[in-house]
């Protein structure tokens, strides 16, 4: 069999999977495609800003801008490839065990995996960021520069794919518990990174007079928000250097930068191959039954801190936290057509607020991250029985009074969101240079969360938001289109938060007043949702257990 034949077969299987997905739920697939198209157009417009100003930019600024753009592109490309709920369009990457059963040579396996990994929506979006620059270069007759840009882009893409595979292999090799523990800080770091990367330019452009945008000086980075000094050895910076060196006719510099990139690629590839080999050995050993038996461990102490007069509430809170914190990536709403649609529309409508060619991307990142966090939290708040990934009906099999069921879930989620949102608010306040408001933010956060919890109770029993379902091999996309529900809930939140907005200027008395109103609202929502649940329990069971009532 030729070298490429098995690779062709694997890619063909992947195409078949995509076709089956499309046939199974054409509406969801169509919406996802529309969203990808919107994001594609947005990426093109961002790339266009850089391309249009490319020839006018001084060398240092141009190199920094291109390097920065490619660095962010790589970071988000990597994230899209790493998260199981990322924006991959064609479906999950074939599992390692499936590929190994083809009896491929290591190099064939490596190429097949990379082809499968890179031939997907994230690559298309990444290319859309670079494509306008290529067009401008070709239009200006800079054929060599365009060729080097394309080559640099391809090398960056290849390195991103290899990095993704290396990280996946390393996480598979690492201890399950360590991986689990690393996920939460990893996810938080990602959210904070998005905020920190995007917030200063977004705030700067929002607060600067619009007339400044017309001046040629806009092309330079503003003095009050200096560009991050990127390490010159970063592959994205090396790629930008190669392009700039070509523009300046410095061919030795270009070759040096490309050579360094190739070196980086070689090192990453070597590390990935080593990690993959270890993973293969482990898989083969587990298949042949050579894995050491699990030694029974002594049971840990019962968590007495949460035991109270109602053991079922304590158990519910503990379990809810376990379910939410073990594998939080399962709950990423990014792939849901509804949230993607909102994000896509937002990205498309983002006004041109930038003063630097790459600022629009940063604004999008900042506001997009905030929107993303809001969507993520809305999803939980509006589906109390969906956090178990399709096994929510299990809860209705217990004899716990339903009001305690709701109360336990509320306490768990309220506590979790308080823990997540407090540092986010502090971080945002620092980044936005308003640290004096931290106290104010933290004081009002519990009341805001209480309001959202109240609203979420009602939505959860009337029209729960869809959350990824559990399947034997990965999650299944919920088919519901919920963009309208997101907008309705957003509107209701706005109305319910009015007392907070009105009472905010009155300090402590205002806080106490708002607290009383919100507590009343919460108690009313708890009892009403309990009454609604009593009437709708059969429907909830049927919906969460996935059978017809």
């Amino acid at each position: 069999m030729s070298f490429w034949k098995p690779i062709q077969i694997l890619l063909h299987v992947r195409r078949q999977v995509a076709r089956t997905k499309l046939a199974a739920n054409p509406t969801a697939a169509l919406w996802t495609l529309l969203v990808i198209l919107l994001l594609f157009l947005t990426a093109l417009s961002m790339g266009h800003k850089l391309g249009a100003h490319w020839s006018d930019l001084p060398r240092t600024d141009a190199e920094e801008s291109l390097g920065g753009l490619w660095l962010k592109m790589q970071a988000f490309w990597l994230l899209a490839l790493l998260f199981p709920g990322g924006i991959a369009l064609l479906g999950q990457i074939p599992p390692r065990s499936t590929l190994l059963s083809f009896r491929l040579r290591p190099l064939q396996l490596f190429v097949a995996e990379h082809a499968a990994l890179l031939l997907d929506a994230p690559s298309v979006l990444a290319f859309a960021l670079t494509f306008p620059l290529l067009c401008f270069q070709v239009g200006g007759g800079q054929w060599l520069e365009a060729g080097i840009t394309l080559l640099a882009f391809l090398l960056l893409g290849l390195q991103t794919g290899i990095c993704a595979r290396l990280l996946t292999a390393l996480s598979a090799l690492g201890a399950r518990r360590a991986r689990r523990l690393a996920l939460i800080p990893g996810l938080t770091a990602f959210l904070l990174l998005g905020l920190c990367a995007g917030m200063p330019p977004a705030f700067a452009s929002l607060t600067s007079p619009a007339s400044q945008h017309l001046l040629p000086a806009h092309l330079a980075l503003p003095a009050q928000f200096p560009a991050v000094d990127l390490a010159p050895l970063l592959p994205s910076r090396l790629a930008a250097h190669a392009v700039m060196a070509t523009r300046q006719g410095d061919y030795w510099g270009m070759l040096g930068a490309l050579g360094s990139m190739a070196g980086c690629l070689f090192l990453t590839g070597g590390a990935a191959l080593l990690a993959l080999r270890s993973e293969d050995r482990r898989w083969v050993a587990s298949e042949s039954g050579a894995v050491a038996p699990v030694k029974p461990r002594k049971p840990g102490p019962v968590a007495r801190s949460l035991s109270g007069p109602y053991p079922e509430i304590a158990a519910l809170i503990r379990t809810e936290w376990h379910l939410l914190l073990r594998g939080p990536q399962t709950f990423l709403p990014l792939r849901k057509p509804a949230s993607l649609l909102l994000l896509g529309v937002f990205a498309f409508l983002t006004p041109d607020m930038g003063r630097n060619p790459i600022y629009n991307l940063e604004e999008f990142l900042a506001i997009g991250t905030l929107l993303y966090i809001a969507l993520w939290q809305m999803q939980f708040l509006c589906n109390r029985f969906g956090n178990e990934a399709g096994t929510g009906a299990l809860l209705f099999g217990f004899s716990i009074p339903r009001i305690r069921l709701l109360l336990g879930k509320n306490i768990a989620l309220f506590g979790l969101l308080l823990v997540i949102d407090s540092p986010l608010l502090v971080g945002m306040a620092y980044v936005a240079e308003v640290p004096e408001n931290i106290g104010l933010f933290l004081k009002w956060l519990p009341l805001i969360l209480l309001t959202l919890t109240s609203l979420g109770n009602i939505v959860s029993v009337l029209h729960p938001f869809a959350i990824l379902k559990q399947e034997r091999h990965g999650g299944k996309e919920p088919p519901d289109m919920l963009a309208g529900a997101y907008i309705l809930v957003g509107g209701a939140t706005f109305v319910l938060l009015t007392p907070i907005a009105v009472l905010l200027p009155y300090g402590i008395p205002g806080w106490i007043g708002a607290g009383a109103v919100m507590s009343g609202l919460y108690i009313a929502s708890l009892y009403s949702s309990n009454a609604l649940l009593a009437r709708r329990e059969y429907n909830m069971i049927a919906a969460t257990a996935h059978f017809d009532a």
Partner: protein
């Protein structure tokens, strides 16, 4: 006998989806402590019947009492007295086996220490102790079944509903579960309602059986009665079952193209 005195009582139980009849006038009277088998082919309506009897699905028509509780009026109260092992096991796969069992116990109102004690005991009896700390997602189908079975038992219910409990379970574990179930039925007076399409299993375990076909009960009686019927017809119990469930014997011919 009053309906509330039965372990399980169903009268004129009917359910349908659109034009499709799933259950039609099903009558069941299972006395406390009885091991009752509910037999039928795939798609006969066994799982729907179990859902209705457990209060997970409101039937379109009929009256149901389980463990002295009116199922349609008090479905939450009913949960205290029943344990359910459904065919599609739904477990929290991110919890370990031990965590899940402790959670199930506490959700039925047991104290943390009592739930833990019972979870330990059940895991040991069901040979799950070595995997107690592993996430349920990493368990085999048979192990998941055993965890679900333990969760159905942990609050010591008076009635047990078991939907195809031995699917995917190995021979040794099947024997273990059978012994446990027989002990619960004969020694502890637990009513067991058991569905299966394996006739030998019902013959071995059940004191009484009902055969369901296309939503209707075709035959109900003790195993001895069914066997006597079969003997009168000069056939085996399996053949009686196949006749009642309309099995097409023409399909038993070999593949002539193979």
């Amino acid at each position: 006998m009053d309906p509330s005195e039965y372990g399980i009582y169903a009268h004129k139980l009917s359910h349908w989806y659109g034009d499709r009849m799933i259950l039609e006038d099903v009558d069941l009277q299972v006395t406390p402590g009885e091991f009752f088998g509910f037999l039928g082919r795939n798609g006969a309506g066994k799982s729907t019947a179990i859902r209705a009897l457990c209060g997970f699905l409101p039937p379109r028509e009929g009256e149901i009492w389980v463990a002295g509780v009116n199922v349609l009026k008090n479905p939450v109260e009913l949960r205290r007295h029943i344990g359910v092992l459904s065919e599609d096991i739904a477990l929290y796969e991110r919890l370990s086996g031990r965590e899940f069992l402790e959670f199930a116990g506490q959700m039925h109102g047991l104290s943390a220490s009592e739930a833990r004690h019972r979870a330990e005991d059940l895991m040991e009896r069901l040979e799950l102790s070595a995997s107690a700390q592993r996430a349920i997602g990493a368990y085999s189908l048979g192990m998941k079944k055993k965890v679900a079975f333990a969760a159905a038992l942990i609050h010591a219910p008076r009635v047990l509903f078991l939907d195809e409990p031995f699917n995917g379970v190995d021979a040794a574990s099947t024997r273990l579960l059978c012994t446990l179930l027989q002990d619960l039925s004969t020694e502890r007076g637990v009513t067991i309602f058991f569905t299966s399409h394996v006739i030998e299993m019902a013959e071995r375990l059940c004191s009484r059986v009902a055969v369901l076909h296309e939503g209707r009960i075709r035959k109900q009686g003790t195993v001895a009665e069914l066997k006597a019927d079969a003997a009168r017809q000069g056939t085996t119990l399996e053949e009686v079952f196949l006749q009642l469930t309309g099995a097409n014997t023409a399909l038993l011919s070999p593949l002539n193209w193979y």
